[in-house]
Amino acid sequence: MPVVRLVAFARLREVLGEHREIVLPDGANVGDLWEALVREEPRATALARGLRFARNDALCSAEMPLRDGDEISLLPPYGGG
């Protein structure tokens, strides 16, 4: 079962905390991780709009399979500049 490290930013950090480790079933992908987080913290549901994922510092899709040791970032819509 893969253990991944989660990093959340901005609004999502406020709801989910900045860092945590999560254990997921074998074969789980990034979308499954998000579903698990939303079940645990329903306030995150409202923050799905415009959400992007990154795996080990590269943007990835919700279909990306998780591997043990991955760092998964949750990136809400950007506001830099």
Binding site: A10, D57, S73, Y78, G80, G81
Partner: protein, 144 residues
Amino acid sequence: MLFEIVREPIDLRTIENAVLAPGCGGVVSFFGSVRERADDGRAVEGLRYEAHEAMARASFREIADEVRATMPEVRLAIVHRIGALNVGEIAVAVVAAAPHRAEAFAAARFAIDALKERSPIWKQERYCDGERLWVENRFGEERR
């Protein structure tokens, strides 16, 4: 060439010096600073920025690579500050140096537009009335 996320005040001269070259006669600098009023007119006390630092730096380098693909003589620097900023402080600086001014203008404009669209950086406005709000960049409509 300089691509950085910093926590200290931004010094424009240092950034300009990083891109200056004897063949570059035209330099365009853009900097964005914290305004005293939000777009809706509310009084702003300050901003707080955060970033996925590794991805943000990588996005700056990617933007510069794209600029050089069409304008190989352009030298570019992109620096964004994170943490707490007061009204009047510089949040972001883009400097483009080129032999001719048209390229320096085009490169600086492309870089700041691309940064707002694709660099993982977030801004929280902190209003004088105590409220705090994460503000997203909108596209097709300008915020700064």
